[in-house]
Symmetry: C2
């Protein structure tokens, strides 16, 4: 974490409140030893986890199941030089419990294309960090880790 980096660090509750406003984020993982980042839409499951919905056959589902990933959402105004960024870091796993799957089919994230082959991926919010960028403060090197 930077000293005097000009950002206000957000607490977990503030981060989750901001995440709840967002509809699209980015899942970050390692793929073939290279960093990979994929935009996805998502929903929050209570305050404990991020939920994605993807095809059971997708590379994403295979790549992240059981792996620690980062999930990032942000809202930045490049004119006002203000905004926020939140990162959830935790283990991703495909939801296999039938009761959970049935519940998420109703309350979970909607697919932009309905597919009977969808699975839900849960990212446990083990680490939730974020920073608020106040107008005019430095954007570069925004440090999202505690």
């Amino acid at each position: 974490m930077y000293a005097n980096d000009g950002f206000r660090e957000l607490d977990r509750q503030e981060c989750l409140r901001l995440l709840a406003k967002a509809t699209v984020g980015r899942i970050v993982h390692t793929r073939q030893a290279l960093p990979a980042v994929l935009p996805v839409n998502f929903s929050l499951d209570g305050e404990g986890s991020v939920l994605l919905r993807t095809s059971a056959a997708s590379e994403l589902a295979r790549a992240v199941d059981g792996v620690v990933v980062a999930f990032e959402a942000d809202e930045v105004d490049p004119v006002a030089h203000s905004g926020w960024s939140v990162v959830v870091t935790g283990r991703a796993s495909i939801v296999t419990d039938p009761a959970q799957r049935a519940r998420l089919a109703h309350s979970g994230p909607r697919s932009w294309v309905a597919s009977p082959q969808d699975v839900f991926v849960r990212i446990e919010a083990e680490l939730v960090t974020g920073r608020e960028l106040v107008g005019g403060r430095r954007m570069y090197g925004l440090d999202l880790t505690p």
Copy 2:
């Protein structure tokens, strides 16, 4: 890459044209064995690389110098279910050549907070991939690698 994933793959020129429209992206690297993602603003240096500007003392500068990173920018309309995402993957390095630094001080990305301690970080666009999301097509598991 997905078969029939409903996305239009963008060629390098299309990707760079879209990147040129964006002002903020996200740099993805590994930090303490965990995926890390940081929003940054940026500029393109010709068509060959992405340029960031950060504090010489920043953890970002130390973390990415000499490392292969991913840089992502996107523009997604969650209502229209349309947008694009571009990822540049390549080695990041701090610009040390005095002539280049002098040039970038004028033509490179602006800092939102002026600092005499700034350095420029160049990400070589070794791999440039992107997808266009057509309205209503699946967002999940957008695969940004070739």
